[in-house]
């Protein structure tokens, strides 16, 4: 379905995750972050870029993997995206939430 985020028509799924990363922009990210109760800062950006990069390379993500990335440690990741960092950060980054096959 389509919804309006930051004044643009954006395709999202039932849970509000972008279905096309090409529609992502910093403004879209800021608007989604606000919905998640997060004020986006420059500190969030390297993490978001890392997640997008992994997604493009089809690497499955986990909290521990992000923690070993060298971009942010696990404590820092929770501090930037409190309450479910991978889920929230994925949504803000415009990529699907971490999932299993079923």
């Amino acid at each position: 379905m389509e919804t309006t985020i930051a004044g643009k028509n954006i395709a999202v799924n039932d849970e509000g995750y972008l279905t096309d990363l090409n529609q992502w922009s910093r403004e879209v990210a800021e608007a989604i972050a606000q919905e998640e109760g997060i004020q986006l800062t420059d500190d969030h950006m390297p993490v978001i870029e890392y997640l997008q990069e992994q997604y493009k390379n089809e690497v499955p993500l986990s909290i521990r993997k992000v923690g070993k990335s060298g971009v942010v440690d696990i404590k820092g990741f929770y501090a930037l995206f409190p309450g479910g960092p991978l889920k929230k950060a994925s949504r803000i980054a415009g990529i699907p939430k971490p999932a299993s096959c079923i």
């Binding site: 089809e58 499955p60 986990s62 971490p98 079923i102």
Partner: protein, 415 residues
């Protein structure tokens, strides 16, 4: 003479040795290496804790399944020297290859989680992803008369991603059969946001957990195990107490991959998801759980990959363009207890949906729906595994790429 060397004689390696033995001409030597002497039917691990299978039911000698023209070497692999096309074994033996097929799978790495492998390992903290763990867990379950059973997934990816859920369903049925279900609390603790994460599966199957009285703890990213206090803690400080912990620890590829300098941070090998050629070097191919491709790590996937990989090894030898046809096809039965099971059939592009399999509109198997017939399919898989899958035979009516016929794919539109 030219050499193809296969690393690993589990599901995928054994299967490839049979495929290649049938198709390579006499110019080729086939060598296959494994540290083990015994082949394990790993899907059987699931049933050992509940006494449905014993150890003897699921093991056979590796050599029984290796074709005559292949040479089986039972030794641990030390490393691959990709620049010189050589494999070093731990005892110093060196194997030169023209083509290398890597099939060394994945194993649990409980040492990745703080405190998991302490004195409580295989006492009150168990796994069922190894034969040893499954056998010990069987004893522990027999002596379990009540309390909190916690099943925890550490992180993805894991092999057979549905096995933890199957274990949980089977535990519910097992305690019911023993007449003590009311004395056991069962919790499913997962880093994902639910036991089912795909919208269509959640919609059709979400009720199973509630029906069976299984407590789901979502978004739990395990940081440590305190074996003394019997509790697990996640990175946010959330705690879950247990009496018996069934852990699915981090899964990693083999250590020699790291020593060879070409794995990712979990020792999975960068591989082209459609051709199965490694991104390490063009004469190295990877199959089964050892790859980093975004397909499920399952025996059925290795089977579907096998037919395409065989074709690509032959094309590579002939200097032809590789076939980029692997679509991530997976086909998995999911035990739900009480003699029933589900079946899912999906690929890179389609999530599991409802329908009939393998014959559109007929079945006899149902997709994404509990049935006794599906359970019979699951139990028949053992025979198929030993007699068709690892011997590299085609399974009738099931193509390597996913068939869209008989599937209600319109369910995906809004999901």
């Amino acid at each position: 003479m030219k050499n193809v060397v296969i690393l690993g004689a589990g599901t995928a390696g054994t299967m490839m040795s049979n495929h290649l033995a049938k198709r390579l001409n006499d110019e080729w030597n086939i060598t296959i290496v494994d540290q083990r002497r015994i082949h394990h039917y790993q899907p059987g691990y699931l049933f050992i804790p509940f006494g449905t299978y014993t150890e003897e039911d699921i093991v056979k000698p590796i050599e029984k399944f290796i074709p005559e023209r292949a040479n089986f070497i039972q030794k641990p692999i030390l490393k691959v020297d990709k620049d010189n096309d050589r494999v070093y074994l731990e005892d110093g033996e060196v194997l030169n290859y023209d083509v290398l097929v890597i099939a060394t799978g994945t194993d649990i790495a409980p040492e990745e989680i703080d405190g998991m492998q302490g004195p409580h390992w295989h006492q009150s903290v168990f796994d069922f992803y190894t034969l040893d763990g499954a056998v010990k867990l069987h004893r522990a379950l027999e002596n379990f008369d009540g309390g909190h059973l916690v099943v925890n997934i550490a992180e993805m990816p894991i092999k057979c991603p549905v096995a933890p859920l199957e274990f949980t369903f089977l535990a519910d049925a097992y305690f019911e059969q023993r007449g003590i279900r009311d004395k056991v609390k069962i919790s499913f603790v997962t880093p994902m946001d639910g036991a089912f994460t795909k919208p269509i599966a959640s919609a059709h199957l979400g009720h199973l957990l509630e029906d069976k009285g299984i407590n789901v703890v979502p978004n739990f990213n395990i940081m440590s195990v305190d074996g003394e206090a019997k509790k697990i803690t996640d990175y946010e400080g959330q705690e879950v107490d247990y009496d018996l912990l069934v852990a699915i620890p981090t899964n990693k590829g083999a250590d020699y991959v790291e020593r060879s300098g070409f794995g990712d941070d979990l020792n999975f090998i960068p591989t082209d998801k459609a051709t199965l050629q490694s991104k390490v070097k063009e004469n190295i191919f990877v199959i089964g759980d050892a790859t980093n491709i975004p397909a499920s790590k399952a025996g059925s996937v290795a089977h579907f990959e096998g037919e395409i990989l065989l074709e690509n090894v032959l094309r590579f030898i002939d200097g032809k363009k590789l076939k980029d046809e692997f679509d991530g096809h997976a086909n998995c039965f999911i035990e739900t207890g009480h003699g029933k099971a589900l079946l899912i059939d999906f690929n890179y592009n389609h999530q599991p949906v409802t329908g009939t399999f393998p014959f559109p509109g007929v079945g006899p198997l149902n997709l994404l729906k509990e049935s006794r017939m599906n359970h019979m399919g699951k139990m028949a898989f053992k025979w198929i595994y030993w007699n068709m899958l690892i011997t590299g035979r085609h399974i009738p009516f099931v193509s390597p790429t996913m068939s869209e016929a008989g599937k209600n794919l319109e369910e995906e539109i809004n999901a």
